[in-house]
Symmetry: C2
Subunit: 334 residues, 2 copies
């Protein structure tokens, strides 16, 4: 059936005129080999184009050096960045990162998860904000698992997520420092990842004395625009808009421009999401970002600690990035 047989260690051994254990030794670096054997083996490897067989290694070693990443939908910029950043860390540590994506529903995500289990990944990163914890509770009990961006209570998984409360306090501080009072808040659809952030802002901002109007930002730019329009139609108009999604902030800038409202001077815009590349067209958006780089770094730290010590107690790490001062927040109109 196979038109082509990959060269094996045995092929290399024959070509080099040594036994296969010698080849294995130069490959792994374990044990002693004479300089001459090493040279001959290396030449044979290069000549045959030998590439190690991960499946055979996995079987022999009992581990794969694969780590799996599950994302809900690879088309979302956040997941793309997460995949990108995580692969960096994994590669540096000598692990392969294998990414699989669901298809927007829990069933397909479970299947994707099953794929990773069959691949016998040594560690698992769950980047889905929607998959119910129950779906991987049993898995996390036996496999080093870190969940990104959402809680995973009742499971043995490590968690890294945004410090929603601190983020809300920081937002309040920034807006208060600029004398704002009437705030429009664009929230995102509730999910395991979004709910805590929606909740934190909805409770902390009013507690801090702000007059808060809430609008649903939805899943895309189109819905975000509708939310902005609703907020701008309020009377009196909010002096600041705070958005949990980059789309919301972008939509606010756009609508302001269309209506001739001066951003910062007449309407402040604060984003709590990391703006996508290229969003900073006319001006840098003031934000308290949800840094995928930071999340990935912490996720890897947790995962590698767990790989070294599987019995380690699960931890929850909250990441927080300080305000990034752009040019979209200014003093409130008096």
């Amino acid at each position: 059936m196979p038109l082509y047989r990959n060269p094996t260690i045995i092929d290399v051994a024959q070509a080099a005129g040594v036994s296969k254990s010698v080849v294995s030794r130069v490959l792994t670096g374990n044990g002693q080999v004479s300089a001459q054997s090493r040279r001959k083996v290396q030449q044979a490897i290069a000549k045959l184009g030998y590439s190690s067989n991960a499946a055979a290694q996995a079987l022999a070693l009992g581990r794969t050096r694969n780590i799996g990443l599950l994302v809900r939908r690879s088309t979302a910029p956040f997941y793309g960045r997460l995949m990108f950043n995580l692969q960096e860390h994994a590669a540096r540590a000598g692990y392969r990162m294998i990414a699989v994506t669901g298809n927007l529903d829990n069933a397909s995500e479970s299947r994707a998860l099953q794929t990773l289990l069959e691949l016998r990944v040594d560690g698992l990163v769950i980047g889905s904000g929607n998959l119910p914890t129950e779906e991987f509770r049993v898995i996390a009990a036996n496999l080093p698992t870190v969940v990104v961006g959402r809680p995973a209570e009742g499971s043995n998984a490590d968690v890294v997520r945004i410090d929603a409360v601190r983020q809300a306090h920081e937002a309040a501080r920034v807006l208060r420092a600029n004398g704002h009072h009437r705030i429009g808040f664009i929230q995102v659809p509730d999910s395991l990842s979004a709910a805590p952030r929606n909740r934190a802002l909805r409770s902390i901002l009013p507690e801090a004395g702000f007059d808060l109007t809430v609008a649903e930002g939805g899943y895309d730019l189109h819905e975000a625009v509708l939310a902005v329009r609703a907020l701008l139609a309020e009377a009196p108009r909010p002096t600041a808009i705070i958005s949990l999604s980059a789309d919301g902030a972008w939509a606010a800038l756009r609508e302001a421009e269309v209506r001739g409202i001066a951003v910062a001077a007449e309407l402040s815009v604060l984003s709590l999401d990391q703006p996508d590349d290229g969003y900073a067209v006319t001006r840098e958006i003031t934000s308290i970002p949800q840094s995928s780089g930071e999340l990935a770094a912490q996720a890897w730290a947790l995962l590698s600690a767990r790989l070294e010590n599987p019995a380690r107690e699960p931890r929850e790490v909250l990441v927080f990035s300080p305000v990034h001062h752009g040019s979209t927040v200014g003093p409130a109109q008096s």
Copy 2:
């Protein structure tokens, strides 16, 4: 070392009180098993939470049912969509899709490719518009390989890409039908994937009698905006802007809005890229799209044909999507 041992077929066999061959038979569906044995085995599988070991299967069968996808940077929306769509096809055909991403440079992409080889993928999809063909020429000679979105001359790989020439002719047709003559063209940075499309438009539009002004659209929305500004500063101003990137089209709409130029009536905008979700805020962009869904479908068709018959002659498939009539192209001002 492993705190946890995954249950094996042997464990299942013991729990079910049968031999491991029986278990293997119910798992694979090959051979006959009594209804009673099947039932007992299925119960044992559920009870133990057995999950097949892909590495052992790969070793025994000589193939993995993995197909690998290499992308240049997972943060680009196009690659996210490609990954998403391709996974759909692969899953339906009983293959796992494993995605790996490079880190913007050829060296990291080669390493990612190496990962896929070690995983002994049965098939390979190269979604990178930049990796030199030479880097995978030898691989494609022995492994079913399809390249998406760019040529791969001199290799044994199948190719699926946009029909750049037909796309250019279609663009010319649309613009001519609306009486346009002065055209601003936003091209994208030359790469193996972009160069043919840049070239087709730069040669075919002037041949068709258009007065073409070219601007470099760059890699992101920011650079696209600069390109649009340059085009709008021309005197006389172009009556239509045609963009190879969705960013360019979006930037054109935005700049027109800011300057009070009526889109369609005073300035037509034609996109040759698939607009990202949510881009159609105020109006539907008229486009001759580069459909990632269509590319993925054709890529899978080529790959599965090659998987069935490895000796098949490599083919090149050109995909073309007809114009999508939005509301951004109108008659030229006379």
